[in-house]
């Protein structure tokens, strides 16, 4: 499965990569902000996206809105901080399928991915 990791923190991307690799996902692509992600989705063709909220150039919410204009189905998991939790409804309206609140443990991220992919498969 192809997964696109969108986060301005390289450390966070590395953590996500490490967890996903342990889960058996090896086709991973990285983007450092929303703009970078938009430029990569066409060529990479992700089947799942993990998107951070706060990023320079283009934030996660704006990216989700732009992405959903052309792709309505590919699942997106938003990675948020506690302070952004109140805005989750806004994100879900924009087309996000699930969310993970930082700080998260490897187990929580793994559980959210499995949960999201399960829901998409059942739909």
């Amino acid at each position: 499965m192809k997964i696109l990791l969108v986060d301005d923190s390289k450390t966070m991307r590395n953590i996500q990569k490490s967890i996903l690799t342990q889960l058996g996902y090896t086709q991973l692509e990285e983007a450092c902000d929303g703009q970078d992600a938009l430029s990569k989705v066409g060529a990479f063709g992700p089947e799942l996206l993990l998107v951070d909220w706060n990023m320079p150039n283009m934030d996660g919410l704006t990216f989700v809105k732009e992405f959903r204009k052309t792709d309505k189905t590919t699942p997106i998991i938003m990675v948020t901080t506690e302070s952004e939790r109140s805005r989750v409804v806004e994100a879900i309206k924009a087309g996000v399928n699930n969310y993970v609140v930082k700080p998260f443990t490897p187990d929580v991220l793994s559980q959210r991915i499995t949960e999201t992919l399960g829901k998409v498969a059942a739909a």
């Binding site: 901080t81 930082k102 998260f104």
Partner: protein, 500 residues
């Protein structure tokens, strides 16, 4: 004036293939006509050829022009026989044994043209499937003839008298192909690939370094700075000087090793050596040494037997039982012997311990930071939330790493325990100056201990000394100071005597 027949003569070359007509000075010019000369040549049985008449005409013209001079011309030619070529081996360039040394000299040279004479090899190595030479068939000869028409018989070539054994294949097209990997042997008309390389003399500048994919026997010794490496068994009948020798299986060093702290010996399985002096030696299984082991850094995974020999100086680590005539020297040479240990595994265990300590320290620091953030969990900023995720991940990773290292440490300990047997038997004497490491203890011998004795680890884990004549055993601490290697005080050994 002489008549023509008195003035002309014919000269035949020794091989009878060239006839030269010579006219002496002072011949009567009016006698000089072609028919007369042709008649003379016919009388001499010279076989004329189409060009003979022109040659005669030019000779006669020259005589008429200057009759007072001598003149000569070749009037007939025969043909020497062409003997057939003998059958022979035509070597492929890379495998010509006659040029092996030159090739090696060329290939060993660097860009500036400086050759390393240690790395050149006088032996031609082949791999199975190499086309090493072509057997060229003999050719038939072509007869010749003399100026008088007599046949000069040619000899036909004979087939090359070459023996090939099963290690080389002679294909119908004459290609000679190696069937095995090894050294190409070309002696007394026999071509073969040998898996056992024999060097009749020393390994020195005449041979270069030896790196052979089979057994190697050196009938003399190995000179300073050379390398002998055998993928299988190695036998060296002479002395190994400050050189490196490597055996992929067993090694017999019949002339001993005098390495002057420069040479190294690595034996994958068993070593049998006459003596070892100032060498670094690693043995994968067992070692049998006939005489002394002097100032040598020796590591043996299996047993060491030197029932007539001694270890004097140096550092020795042995995994299995050790049998010696003497340990140390009367002069008190500092001699360290470690029993029941495998040096490679000990080093690995040491490295693992260092890594585990570093991982624990990293874990402690990460946990401290994590606990601070947890205490303030309700008021975390976005960057603190990210930092906490990172710390959680680091802690999980470090925990997994520590688990892995702990399992590896247990495995190493289990392997060492299963393959070691701490036991030292000394027939004659253990001298002062010897340090003996056994289990968690080190004993320093201040006074000589008369043999035959055996030192083992007792049931309590402490070194035990058994007198092999009386068969009585006592704590080693009763005869030599014993301390724990971890710096803890050793329990007193008095009163530990008991019957073996």
């Amino acid at each position: 004036m002489a008549e023509l027949f008195d003035a002309i003569s014919i000269e035949i070359s020794p091989d009878e293939t060239v006839a030269t007509l010579r006219v002496a000075p002072g011949v009567e010019v009016s006698d000089c006509d072609r028919e007369a000369v042709l008649a003379y040549l016919a009388e001499q049985q010279i076989q004329l050829q189409p060009e003979s008449r022109d040659a005669i005409d030019s000779l006669l013209a020259a005589v008429r022009a200057d009759p007072d001079q001598s003149h000569a011309v070749v009037v007939a030619r025969g043909r020497p026989p062409e003997h057939g070529r003998m059958g022979r081996l035509l070597w492929e360039e890379a495998f010509d044994p006659d040029t092996a040394a030159d090739r090696a000299r060329g290939s060993a040279g660097d860009a500036a043209g400086d050759a390393c004479h240690y790395t050149r090899s006088a032996f031609t190595m082949v791999r199975a499937g190499d086309h090493v030479a072509t057997l060229v068939k003999p050719t038939e000869g072509v007869d010749g003839y003399t100026v008088r028409g007599k046949t000069l018989a040619a000899r036909n070539g004979k087939p090359a008298q070459i023996k090939f054994d099963r290690s080389v294949l002679l294909r119908p097209d004459g290609a000679v192909v190696a069937q095995e990997s090894g050294a190409l042997s070309w002696r007394s008309g026999e071509l073969k690939v040998v898996s056992h390389l024999e060097i009749d003399d020393f390994v020195d500048f005449s041979t270069g370094n030896i790196d052979f994919d089979g057994d190697v026997t050196v009938h003399k010794g190995v000179r300073d700075c050379f390398v002998v490496s055998a993928a299988k068994d190695l036998r060296i009948r002479g002395m190994v000087e400050a050189a490196d020798v490597v055996a992929g299986r067993d090694a017999r060093l019949e002339g001993g090793v005098a390495a002057r702290d420069k040479g190294r010996v690595y034996v994958e399985r068993d070593l049998h050596a006459r003596y070892l002096d100032s060498a670094a030696v690693v043995v994968g299984r067992h070692a049998l040494i006939d005489k002394e082991i002097v100032s040598t850094d020796l590591s043996i995974a299996g047993t060491l037997a030197a029932p007539s020999g001694a270890i004097i100086g140096g550092e020795t680590t042995v995994g299995g039982a050790v049998e010696l005539a003497e340990l140390g020297s009367a002069g008190g040479s500092e001699t360290l012997i470690t029993l029941g240990a495998m040096r490679d595994f000990d080093e690995l265990k040491g490295k693992l311990g260092t890594l585990a300590a570093a991982a624990s320290e990293m874990h402690r620091k990460a946990k401290e930071q994590f606990d601070m953030l947890t205490a303030n969990a309700a008021k975390l900023t976005a960057s603190q939330a990210e930092q906490m995720t990172e710390l959680q991940f680091s802690l999980a990773t470090l925990d997994a790493l520590r688990d892995k290292m702990s399992r590896a440490d247990e495995k190493i300990a289990a392997v060492v325990a299963a393959h070691t047997d701490a036991e030292l038997t000394v027939h004659r004497v253990i001298h002062a100056g010897v340090r003996l490491r056994l289990g968690e203890y080190e004993a320093r011998f201040k006074d000589p201990i008369k043999g035959p004795v055996r030192i083992t680890l007792g049931a309590s884990g402490r070194p035990l000394l058994t007198d092999l004549v009386s068969e009585s055993a006592r704590d080693l601490a009763e005869v030599a100071p014993v301390h724990r290697l971890d710096g803890q005080p050793a329990p007193r050994g008095k009163g530990a005597s008991r019957a073996a």
